[in-house]
Amino acid sequence: MNTSSLTSRTLRAGALATALAAGLGSFGAQARTPNDQLVIGVSMNNLLSLDPAGATGNDVVEIACNVYDYLVELDPLQTTTVKPGLAESWAIAPDGRRLTFTLRQGAKFHSGNPVTAEDAAWSLQRVLKLNLALASPWKSYGFTAQNVAGLVRATDARTLVIDLPVATDPKMVLYTLGTSVSAVVLDRKTVLANEKNGDLGAAWLTTHAAGSGPFKLDEWRAKEVLFMSRFDGHWRGPAKLRRVVMRHMTESQSLRLMLGRGDIDIATGMSVPDIEAMKATPDTEVHSVNRGTLYYVAVSAKDPKFADKRVRAAVLRHLVDYDGINKTVMPYYGVYHQRPVPLGLPATLPEPGYKLDVAGARKLLAEAGYPDGFKTTIRVVAESPFTNIATNLQATLAQAGIVASILPGTGNQVYGAMRERNFEIIVGRGGGGAEPHPHSSLRALVYNPDNSDQARLTNFQGWRTSFADPKVNQLIEGALLLTDPAKQTAAYQDVQRRFDSEVPAIQPISQMVDTVVMRKDVRDYVGHPSVTTRLRDVHKQR
């Protein structure tokens, strides 16, 4: 036998034995993430694409706002305050139809290319030309694939002009520029270098990034891990962390154990019992932030039963245990709220105070011809807190003789049925609200300019619930155009009153709260109501 191969084999075996022994020896060591790295445990189930034109869901927003720069940013503590981003200043024309942005000098993309107004204009044009998911807000402002090149343009390397095709509130457009992933500025040259078959880089951007943000995307392995590293050439100066790691974890108790051991610094999407448990531990703390999205119970006004205003009132106002649900089911998920305009905006009216009132509901049902109730179905996404709300609702409906079967499903199935107007009752979540403007929610939840089946206005939940009130539409359209803030606030309050008086088919029950649990040594993490949580200032103090 060859002596050298024997020696080599012996050495290998020895090394393996040593490694095994060392492995056993190291067991029990306290895990701790490095000082200059942030490890976030998060479910990436809904992260399907990183393309700013087509990516949906909230997961991508948290990545995009750290990898890309926006023209403007909204202050996380006072969201109506617009702060400079890549645009160092901006001006709104007196008629409100033109926004002019001056981009800062010296900003560079991760590739080293300079950031120019041409990049910013091209990025927005691309969103409309691709007509993917995130084209929606821009289409609602009147932009189309055909007109966008003429309306969004660079007049020189630092000046971007956006002409609004239809009259709207320019503040709303500004807020969209500060919140929507579609508004990030892409490195045009890098994207076009990776274009295939005229796709404007869509296939490449699904898994890559071409931004100028404080972090560079190093690698994304779907449903496994995402790595971002500090971009030292960022115009604000380098971020405090060297690396951010997002680790795909869906199991709440695993997150809890890893957080407790210090293997992750921040955990999102934990269950309420686990959050409660972590709250009691000395090394972790819980942070919650209100989001603009609303939890709601909706009925289909197309259904003969729910076409009757009295039945809608009975079910949505008297047979929902608002207090019980908000006290027992919603902690860390949402806060009590019954208006379509989110909390915290000047136009938001005080709560109407709907309460569980079975006798009142029975009276209304009897008047409507259903003294003994009826049979119905509740569609619900099969996860917390939706199922808990649905079972609570099922129990209170039963008190008035309404026998409701629960049809659980995935988000895709439940909202798919709603888009097809094929449901009776739904417990859901939605309603815009990213922009701190009443129109954001009213457009999504209330507005319905054409209630016909053929219109298929599937992006409007007003259409999905088959509920339309021309007067409400008119009030919403009018309020958006008012330039006097006081008058606009009053007009939006009129919208809410009118909407309330008509007993709509969609009834908010709670405003969404986003809760994260983090290690106490993590500093300056400020959760953003619009999900654009920026990590550039986050650091650890040990």
């Binding site: 490694a19 060392a22 790295q37 998911a133 898994t207 939605g430």
Partner: protein, 355 residues
């Protein structure tokens, strides 16, 4: 004494044997291809019948009509079902499994990434299951009705009836959170992620090949617990089946003869009885291994293990049919391959099957 002329069949010629083997192999191949085609067709039809809309997964619930229709067309879902299936088979014949909605990558690349993670986990688990389960089953059979038998049966019952998810959580609590012996979520410590080039996709093997012992140590620390728990589950099944097979053999007359001949109990059990259950044992180990490959999803979820089970499940929930079809094809191939392998091994262990 007269010799009656008994017709003797002509001895098969070498070329005749080869022809028969080729015909047999051809029949086998045709059966396998037909099985896989049927599996794909069934999956395709179920995927289309399911109330899951892949378009909605991409565009989100709030997309307007024009965006929805555009993406539907891009995915080719506006074509008749037969045409869609035809295109799928055409692409498949060229080795193209399509692109996954879930990851934006070709399904083939995804499978090449997630499958080794599960193969590594399941292989370690089945090794544990076999090395522990078989001796336990044999031991229980030889101690039938005695304390040892009851203990093994209790272990088997406990392992089989306790949800694996619960085992996972308890394992994490004790060995990770309290004792700190095991790694937490994922396949490896983040500090070592990407340090070793992927050659086989099996981290333990790749790290050894690269001589990266620290990486090996970390990978071992992360895989030990999930593989151990899956292995325990396999132990429960394999020991139960081994016991039952052995009991059947130990009651045979040839065993009595062997004992009467004065053979030692070890020789009776291992050389005579055990040898006769090998074929059955192979079948159940092969099936258990196949089951681990596709069914480790709960353990993968608890341990954040980026494997095949998670990939298949989340693809299914999204209606990502390219990924589902590709995964189902892999599962089908794995089961067919395991069956072929166990058939081949039958011939090694059972001379009667050679004819």
């Amino acid at each position: 004494m007269s010799t009656a002329s008994v017709p003797v069949p002509p001895a098969p010629t070498a070329s005749g044997q080869t022809a028969r083997r080729l015909r047999h192999a051809g029949q086998r191949l045709a059966t396998v291809l037909l099985t896989l085609l049927g599996l794909l067709f069934l999956t395709f039809v179920i995927g289309r019948v399911m109330p899951l809309d892949p378009v909605l997964s991409i565009v989100g619930p709030d997309a307007d009509r024009s965006t929805y229709e555009q993406v539907r067309q891009q995915l080719g879902l506006d074509r008749p079902l037969a045409v869609q299936f035809g295109y799928y088979l055409r692409d498949l014949s060229q080795g193209d499994l399509g692109k996954a909605l879930l990851t934006g990558h070709p399904v083939r690349e995804d499978l090449a990434r997630v499958l080794p993670a599960t193969v590594e986990l399941a292989t370690l688990a089945i090794l544990i299951g076999t090395l522990v389960g078989v001796p336990l089953g044999v031991y229980a059979a030889t101690r039938r009705g005695r304390l040892g038998d009851h203990v093994v049966r209790l272990i088997s019952l406990f392992g089989h009836s306790t949800p694996i998810f619960w085992f996972g959580m308890m394992g994490l609590l004790v060995f990770y959170a309290w004792l700190g012996w095991a790694g937490g979520g994922g396949r490896i410590d983040l500090a070592y992620d990407g340090l070793v080039a992927s050659r086989t996709g099996l981290l333990l093997v790749d790290s050894v090949l690269a001589g990266e012992w620290e990486v090996f140590q970390s990978a071992l620390r992360f895989i030990a617990l999930p593989a151990g728990i899956l292995g325990l589950h396999a132990v429960a099944y394999i020991s139960r089946m081994t016991r039952s097979f052995m009991l059947a053999q130990l009651s045979q007359e040839y065993i009595l003869t062997a004992r009467v001949k004065g053979l030692s109990e070890t020789a009776v059990v291992w050389r005579h009885a055990f040898r006769n259950i090998l074929v059955q044992l192979l079948t159940i180990v092969a099936l258990a291994y196949g089951g681990l490959l596709e069914g480790a999803v709960l353990i993968e979820t608890v341990f954040g293990w980026p494997g095949f089970g998670q990939y298949l499940t989340s693809s299914l929930l999204l209606g990502d049919m390219n990924a589902v079809m590709g995964s189902v094809l892999v599962v089908g191939i794995v089961f067919v391959a395991l069956n072929l392998l166990s058939d081949a091994l039958y011939q090694v262990f059972d001379p009667r099957t050679r004819s």
